[in-house]
């Protein structure tokens, strides 16, 4: 019966190791690995909770009659039943959250698409705005646009501008928003994975940084461009002062600083052992969920036989 705890524990573990993994793995590997891991863990957790809930439901006389199985054959302890009922309520609530998140993601994609269409003429995706605030971002939809203000462009050298453009182009080319939206979906269905979302967010930024550094073939230049763009934005009189996060998470407060420092170090090497052990961890969750479903199916099979042979 402890089998169904495995996906839950794996999700909690994944939430704990997501940050360290993101800092050690090459960012593209980290983003892919963490996104797939989050999705598999969320599905496995949903499955075991659903099964537990269904077993609790099977004890309701009306349901048992409709399903034609023996309640006695499925009888578990009182606490197991209570836990099952709790799991059932949980899975419905979490499913609701996931659906809500999916709808939100689609709405955002739609908004991004609409904005892209309104942005007017572009040069291969680049739109320059006559904005006095130095800013640069990628609007990621089906086609996507890179939006940069003149104030940002005029504050950088030609080589630094090239880094900035390459960074944003990497977001669009590799569809980084898909990784973010999928992990957000997984985290909505399984709150234990919330930290994975933050790690994937950091990973896609680092991924774009590494792409930009490779494009210009000069890591210190990429670091300088990033630092100078941040300072430009910080010093603009209209830039909003960053509000201090209430629950000060030290890890997320200095994204730009850690990205700059990462660019000043050599590019991260592939770490096969880390990837393999994470994959093994997530496979445990998938196998446990599969086994739970299988064992439960067998139990119901038995319960059907019992009913037919006693009546």
């Amino acid at each position: 019966m402890t089998l169904w705890l495995v996906p839950v524990l794996v999700s909690v573990a994944l939430g704990l190791v997501a940050g360290p993994l993101e800092r050690r793995l090459p960012p593209a590997t980290a983003a892919r690995l963490l996104t797939v891991s989050a999705l598999v863990s969320a599905l496995a957790t949903g499955l075991v909770l659903g099964v537990a809930g269904f077993i609790a439901l099977s004890q309701v006389p009306f349901v048992a009659a409709a399903g034609q199985w023996s309640r006695a054959a499925l009888q578990h302890g009182r606490t197991t039943q209570l836990l099952g009922a709790f799991a059932g309520i949980m899975v419905i609530a979490l499913l609701g959250r996931a659906v809500h998140r999916a709808v939100e993601a689609l709405r955002h994609l739609w908004a991004a698409e609409a904005t892209c269409r309104r942005l007017g003429p572009d040069a291969n995706g680049l739109v320059v705005t006559d904005d006095s605030v130095p800013d640069a971002y990628a609007v990621q939809g089906l086609q996507g646009r890179i939006v940069v203000s003149r104030a940002m462009l005029s504050g950088l050298t030609a080589e630094e501008r090239r880094v900035l453009l390459a960074h944003e182009a990497s977001h669009l080319r590799h569809r980084h928003h898909v990784y973010l939206q999928l992990t957000q979906l997984a985290a909505a269905a399984n709150p234990a994975l919330r930290q994975v979302t933050e790690a994937v967010h950091a990973a896609v930024e680092r991924w774009a940084d590494e792409d930009a550094a490779a494009e210009v073939g000069d890591r210190p230049l990429a670091a300088r461009a990033l630092a100078r763009a941040s300072l430009l934005r910080h010093h603009s009189p209209t830039a909003p002062a960053r509000p201090r996060p209430a629950s000060a998470l030290a890890a997320v407060t200095s994204g730009v600083v850690s990205r700059t420092q990462a660019l000043l170090r050599p590019a991260p090497r592939p770490r096969h052992l880390l990837v393999l052990s994470t994959t093994a961890l997530v496979l445990c969750a998938a196998v446990a969920a599969g086994l739970t479903a299988h064992v439960t199916e067998d139990q119901f099979e038995v319960a059907r036989h019992v009913l037919h042979h006693t009546s």
Partner: protein, 135 residues
């Protein structure tokens, strides 16, 4: 070591960025000087002409050469507004990261000091080698 060759898409973006970065309308020669490197004059000229035909840039004959500037027509103003509104809408939500990826986040004063130190040419560009090395 050598920088990779730019694709046509990258080139168009860089040329547009160079024109937009300049305080006044620029000629193909100005752009070439700004972008430096291995670009040919004709490449820059063709790119500028293409951007003009797309409606991203406007040009005016100045003596014997064209000078290019960012197209500032009403459509562009509308684009700025749309971009601004998009930012506002998405920034108000905690999950804006989904479709909006910003190059730089807002800094705290401590972050600023660290970045300034990293940028200073006298100090060696060095970062704590915490997680590097160990396999």
């Amino acid at each position: 070591m050598s920088t990779s060759a730019r694709g046509r898409g990258e080139l168009e973006r860089e040329v547009l960025a160079a024109v937009a970065a300049a305080p006044a309308p620029v000629s193909a020669n100005d752009v070439l000087r700004d972008l430096d490197g291995e670009l040919a004059y004709t490449t820059v000229m063709t790119t500028l002409a293409r951007l003009e035909s797309k409606g991203v840039l406007t040009r005016q004959l100045d003596g014997r050469a064209y000078r290019y500037a960012l197209a500032g027509d009403p459509a562009e103003v509308d684009a700025s507004l749309a971009a601004h509104r998009m930012r506002k809408v998405l920034e108000s939500r905690p999950d804006r990261a989904g479709v909006l990826a910003r190059f730089v986040a807002d800094l705290s004063d401590e972050d600023e000091q660290i970045l300034l130190a990293l940028l200073a040419p006298e100090t060696e560009l060095r970062a704590p080698a915490s997680e590097a090395g160990s396999s």
